[in-house]
């Protein structure tokens, strides 16, 4: 219905835009005429989309398939080998309950994995410019080379002072409890952690699914574990224990393996469920708990301003609260006149002169081509000193992990030591593709937001690791060009004092 109306209108739109285009855009609008694109196709984060934007997952999904396989194989074995015996000897309710539990577990897992965790869309260029203006005005005049103060806003929530940090990637001030996931390269609301087992971030929108998944999985593993043991015991009562074990491998070859898998799963998953039950009842996120944001060890009168004070209310709010809609509108069609957010990963990692953003408006192209010359002149003025942002962060720590299988990669952990500012931009940049762009990118990406390298060895060779991360991803080129463009514009505005 909505789509039908869009098509003829869009044809008119494209015709009108064509007449005003400069030449680089004409080929693009021709492309657009053929296939109307959906917003997920130009999504700037590092996510994968399936089913034409209906399914959204993180980039690394290998462990998720492992989770699926483990659950299905263990349950499959249970239903195939133990249930017939138990159904006939005890009660047929056992496979029925097991089946319901299994389906619920699968449903919750898929829901947690495939849904949008609460990603905050990046700022449109106008918004970003407006924020930059406000920050410049607040900071007063700061010439090049002067270290700008950290971009932080403070807000008082329920009597507790909370700091809102500025996200350099998304160009927004993060709402309270939001955090930037370095693996998915998105800001996520009420960020809990990035779960590799689920193949997605866990945030505001899918936390309840995640919690119900681990809770029901605990019940399922305990259920299977208990009834497999029951099966062995019953069998051994009949024919002696050793015979039962002997029969087991012969007739039911994998019962032993089931037990082993279940045994280890039970402890880790039950432990994780218990931990998250504690988090829900105190209305904290894993992120906050690990950082000790509301712990009394930090400050005497530190308390959690989001808690409702009552365990029951906290639980109800987390599990039965309203389900927020997705903010990123993955399946919407791209309308050419809407300002698109500053994107990093459009795949067009080209050099400035031949750059072709599909989502950048044509006016900006006209402006950009004329300003590129000025940009080249302005750049050395603005970026003469390598200035690092976000120095005031928690001390570098290795990857922290919970007792359970879900090792939460706390995104705010700076994986690069504070010796980074000392490294000159020029020397190490020779290895990277676009020196100016990356140099600039370093200036504006705080250590917290760099993709966290794997393992503590990254601390030894921070730059190499970082370079290694940036190299395969030509993702940062367009963004840094945007930032360069904006900065050159700002510089020009200041110079020309308009």
């Amino acid at each position: 219905m909505h789509l039908g109306l869009d098509e003829p209108v869009r044809e008119c739109q494209y015709n009108q835009i064509c007449t005003r285009n400069s030449s680089p855009m004409e080929t693009l609008s021709h492309k657009k005429k053929r296939t109307p694109r959906r917003k997920w196709q130009i999504f700037p984060g590092r996510n994968r989309f399936y089913c034409n934007g209906r399914v959204m997952m993180a980039r690394q999904t290998g462990v998720f398939y492992l989770t699926l396989v483990l659950i299905m194989v263990t349950s499959g074995l249970f239903f195939a080998f133990d249930c017939p015996f138990l159904a006939s000897n005890l009660t047929p309710a056992i496979p029925v309950i097991g089946g319901v539990l299994f389906l619920f577990v699968l449903g919750m897992l898929l829901r947690a994995s495939f849904s949008d965790p609460g990603v905050l869309p990046r700022a449109t260029p106008d918004e970003a410019a407006d924020l930059e203006r406000q920050m410049d005005a607040a900071n007063g005049s700061s010439g090049p080379g002067y270290r700008p103060p950290p971009r932080i806003r403070e807000v008082v929530i329920n009597g507790q002072t909370v700091k809102l940090k500025y996200c350099f990637t998304c160009k927004i001030f993060r709402p309270p409890r939001a955090s930037h996931c370095s693996l998915c390269d998105n800001c996520v609301e009420r960020f809990d952690h990035h779960c590799p087992w689920v193949g997605n971030c866990v945030g505001k929108r899918n936390y309840r699914f995640f919690y119900l998944f681990i809770l029901s999985l605990s019940f399922l593993t305990i259920f299977i574990f208990a009834f497999v043991i029951t099966h062995v015991i019953l069998r051994s009562n009949r024919s002696g224990f050793l015979n039962a074990l002997k029969d087991s491998p012969a007739r039911y070859p994998l019962t032993g393996r089931e037990v082993v898998v279940c045994f280890f799963s039970v402890w880790s998953i039950v432990g994780l469920s218990g931990f998250h039950t504690y988090l829900i009842s105190s209305n904290q996120t894993t992120n906050e708990d690990i950082k000790g944001s509301w712990s009394t060890k930090r400050a005497k009168n530190n308390y959690n301003p989001y808690s409702y004070g009552n365990v029951l209310t906290n639980c109800c709010a987390a599990l039965c609260g309203p389900l927020h809609p997705s903010l990123i509108d993955r399946r919407g069609f791209i309308q050419p006149d809407t300002p698109q957010p500053l994107s990093h990963s459009n795949g067009s990692g080209l050099y400035p002169s031949t750059q072709n953003h599909t989502h950048m408006c044509d006016q900006e192209h006209c402006i950009q081509s004329t300003k590129f010359v000025l940009q080249a002149a302005a750049t050395p003025l603005l970026h003469s000193d390598p200035v690092m942002m976000g120095r005031a962060g928690p001390p570098p720590s290795g990857k922290t992990s919970l007792g359970g299988p879900c090792s939460s990669l706390a995104p705010s952990q700076p994986s690069l030591p504070s010796s980074m500012p000392g490294l000159g931009c020029a020397g190490d940049m020779l290895t990277l593709r676009d020196p100016d762009a990356h140099c600039h990118h370093h200036h504006f990406v705080s250590p917290e937001e760099m993709p966290s390298p794997l393992g503590p060895s990254s601390l030894v060779l921070p730059f190499a690791a970082h370079g290694g991360h940036l190299n395969p991803a030509q993702l940062y080129d367009p963004a840094s060009q945007d930032s360069l463009h904006e900065d050159s514009v700002r510089g020009l505005v200041k110079l020309s004092s308009v």
Binding site: V9, L131, L319, C320, P322, D337
Partner: protein, 174 residues
């Protein structure tokens, strides 16, 4: 779906009114985008959706303070209603949980219903109050609920040089 009068000036980027793009093209022929004002979120009450009611100075000459504040307060009330945790939301949550959230394939959540109400309200406000004053409110959902974006238009005949590029960053100003 809210599509009353196609000739009227509505938020061009609203997904509910695809045909308004024509009207905004016409608007752009006669008026040019001068500036955009962003009303930021107010987090003083936690993470619930609220916008600041502080009157921005750029709108001083364009609209009365009370009208603006009324609009923002009404929007805040709508969002509070959407996010309210009470009897109805518990019922909805428990029902959804027992059906393993399959029920949301058929039924839309309360939040989505309120968002539609908000869309209609903003449209109505644009028609009656803001467009006659050369302003246009963009639904916050289009901007990820971060800001209320108010576009300020100026009549091309009255403004001498094109004011589109001089203001913010010159991007996406059409």
């Amino acid at each position: 779906r809210p599509e009353p009068n196609r000739k009227s000036l509505e938020g061009a980027e609203s997904p509910y009114c695809p045909a308004t793009f024509h009207n905004l093209q016409e608007l752009r022929h006669s008026a040019s985008l001068a500036n955009k004002v962003f009303i930021q979120r107010d987090y003083s009450e936690g993470t619930t959706c609220r916008f600041q009611t502080k009157f921005p100075s750029e709108l001083d000459s364009r609209i009365e303070r009370t009208l603006f504040e009324d609009t923002v307060k009404t929007l805040n009330n709508y969002y509070a209603e959407a996010e309210k945790i009470g009897g109805q939301s518990y019922l909805e949550g428990c029902l959804a949980c027992t059906t393993a959230y399959i029920i949301f394939l058929c039924m839309e959540t309360r939040y989505e219903k309120v968002l539609k109400k908000i869309g209609r309200y903003i449209q109505e406000q644009n028609e009656k109050i803001y467009a006659p004053r050369g302003l246009l409110i963009t639904d916050p959902i289009e901007r990820g609920m971060r800001v209320i974006e108010i576009s300020i238009y100026e009549d091309r005949a009255s403004s001498g040089s094109s004011s589109g590029s001089s203001s913010t960053s010159g991007t996406s100003a059409r």
